[in-house]
């Protein structure tokens, strides 16, 4: 394997881990409540602006912005759940799309109104020089984002599968009425899911802001990646989002390198549609 290809695969894996992280929030909500959050990309955008504010106001780097963004976004998630989602869940699927898309517009244009349309970027040198290992060279922000992305996605998976809280959430997603009879409050568990999902999205956004431009509409671009990742990996499956995220990261990077950057999206979408046709539940979704 040529060293360049190896380099390409490594950077694909790193960006893939970030895809996995911000998609796991979407997949958690989708799997648990059968709701697609169309404002998910805008949650990422809010987290990116939070990181930007932390830098401009306090001069804080990722060590400060990641936890702050997690808390801010978890709050946004809770508010969205209690004020909107809890109510539209009772309506038809269209009402959910309508409600969360309205929320997306609200967030997007609030950011536009407050921050303006200009791209904001954090300084490149925030995290020091690129990291070099043999022939592979990785920018420090991407390395950090990839590593934390992987770790947080795995912890989310562990929370869902290895803790009592996770079991309760799973019970609610399987059968809310039965869970209620066992003394679990479905609404509380769903609120926890929103807080967890939005918090994880907050971490992802703060990390992405260290190497990607921030703008009010950046969420639209990121949301489509998240949709593809989630449907690819299987709805409700965090490990699925992880595998799909890494896979999409690598496929994008390799096809951009071999065929040209323009066609990387074509390859990813085509693959996605093929997976949907042959295995609609996604790679790791339950049948």
């Amino acid at each position: 394997m040529s060293p360049i290809l190896l380099q390409v695969i490594v950077s694909g894996l790193l960006i893939g881990a970030v895809y996995a992280l911000f998609s796991s929030g979407l997949t958690l909500i989708w799997g648990m409540m059968n709701v697609i959050n169309f404002a998910h990309g805008d949650f990422v955008m809010l987290a990116m602006y939070t990181a930007f504010l932390v830098w401009t106001v306090f001069g804080g780097g990722p060590a400060a912005s990641v936890p702050i963004a997690a808390v801010v976004l978890a709050t946004v998630g809770l508010l969205s759940y209690f004020l909107l989602v809890r109510h539209v869940m009772r309506g038809p699927m269209l009402a959910q799309i309508l409600g969360t898309f309205g929320l997306a517009l609200l967030l997007r244009y609030s950011a536009f109104w407050y921050f303006g349309a200009n791209f904001k970027t954090l300084p490149d040198t925030l995290l020091g020089p690129p990291f070099v290992l043999g022939s592979i060279r990785v920018d420090a922000p991407r390395l950090l984002a990839g590593t934390i992305g992987l770790l947080v996605t795995l912890s989310l998976h562990l929370i869902l599968t290895r803790t009592a809280l996770g079991s309760r959430m799973l019970a609610v997603s399987e059968d809310a009425t039965a869970a209620q009879l066992m003394g679990i409050r479905p609404e509380r568990m769903q609120a926890v899911a929103w807080a967890l999902a939005a918090g994880a999205t907050g971490i992802a956004g703060a990390l992405i802001a260290t190497f990607f431009y921030t703008s009010p509409t950046v969420g639209e671009t990121l949301a489509i990646v998240a949709f593809v990742t989630v449907a690819f990996g299987g709805f409700g499956s965090v490990p699925g989002a992880l595998v799909a995220g890494l896979l999409i990261g690598v496929i994008e990077a390799v096809s951009a390198f071999l065929i040209g950057p323009v066609y990387k999206d074509v390859i990813v979408y085509t693959l996605f549609v093929l997976v949907l046709w042959t295995r609609p539940q996604g790679l790791m979704g339950k049948a």
Binding site: A95, L106, A231, T270, V273
Partner: protein, 328 residues
């Protein structure tokens, strides 16, 4: 009968007279035309998304097919844009058949996701397709060569063309609503499994509705291209085009004959006001209001505004979304 016919006749008369009532203001005439254009697209979407309950978020593909066919005919062969429209409709129906056969097997959110992916795929392809103008897009005739170019400075001719087309689409929808197919589609929407068990050829009827909806959406695209004389990948195939059709229909009342029109009557003026203010100090703020209004309606009237009048405030039972979501 009278109780239903009278308001209908009155609003029909009002629609016919509207350009004369606002004859002093070109802005309001244009606004009227834009409302009708959006209502055409949203009513076309309503056939598959509202009546059959298959929430497509990828109708921009069909809109784009109509819009691009109209202007590519001009750019490549110097045809009047209207001549390209039937080709756009045919292409849209063909695409619908091609992507409908596999994707309509998916249900619920999976169908929505698949349509988003297909639409994004098409948008990327069109962006890199030089024959269709690539990322720059293509323009229509700058000055009308003959009246066939349908290039007018006033919005009034467009208004009446759109009104006629909308009336035709609503008539088709109304006929379908009352027909066997209409009952089948509503049965599929309530529970596809139950409909199948009663012998409804669900796959076939969903495909028919999808193809018809696609063809009519292409008409909306062609009309858009004719009026604006310009199309690019974002305004032709962008995800916002798909989402707007859905939002208008859902806001007014999806699966109701006049739902999309009511949605367009509310959202288009809102959007035009915000567009005209954009660039000023309040940039973005009006879209914040736009978003907030959508949220409030989704929160308090999940079945759309018209549900207020039809007495169907809430679905009687949990919607079909709780079924296993990939009945292949």
């Amino acid at each position: 009968m009278m109780r239903r016919a009278l308001p209908l006749l009155l609003s029909g008369a009002l629609a016919l007279l509207y350009p004369l009532l606002v004859s002093g203001s070109a802005v309001y005439q244009r606004l009227g035309a834009l409302v009708l254009l959006s209502a055409i697209g949203a009513s076309a979407w309503n056939l598959i998304g509202g009546y059959a309950g298959q929430v497509s978020v990828g109708h921009a593909v069909f809109f784009g097919a109509g819009a691009y066919a109209a202007l590519a005919g001009y750019a490549q062969f110097a045809l009047p844009p209207i001549a390209g429209a039937p080709i756009g409709v045919a292409v849209a129906i063909l695409i619908a058949a091609l992507i409908g056969v596999p994707t309509l097997r998916l249900s619920g959110h999976y169908f929505s996701m698949a349509t988003i992916a297909v639409a994004e795929l098409v948008r990327v392809l069109v962006t890199n397709w030089e024959w269709l103008g690539g990322a720059q897009g293509i323009s229509g005739p700058a000055v009308a060569r003959t009246v066939l170019d349908l290039s007018f400075t006033s919005a009034v001719p467009y208004y009446y063309i759109f009104l006629a087309v909308l009336a035709a689409i609503l008539f088709i929808t109304w006929r379908i609503e009352k027909s066997r197919m209409g009952f089948y589609l509503r049965a599929i929407k309530d529970s596809e499994r139950a409909a199948r068990s009663l012998g409804v050829a669900a796959g076939r009827y969903k495909l028919y509705a999808y193809m018809l909806s696609a063809g009519l959406t292409a008409v909306a695209g062609a009309l858009y291209a004719i009026m604006f004389g310009f199309i690019d990948p974002e305004s032709g195939c962008g995800i916002l085009i798909s989402v707007k059709m859905l939002i208008m229909a859902a806001l007014g009342g999806a699966g109701l004959l006049f739902g999309p029109l009511v949605g367009a009557l509310i959202l288009v003026p809102l959007e035009e006001i915000s567009n005209s203010l954009l660039g000023g100090k309040g940039a973005g703020l009006t879209f914040v209001v736009y978003g907030a209004i959508i949220v409030v309606i989704a929160r308090f009237l999940p079945s759309g505004l018209l549900a207020l009048f039809t007495g169907r405030m809430r679905p009687a039972r949990k919607p079909a979304a709780t079924e296993p979501s990939h009945a292949a």
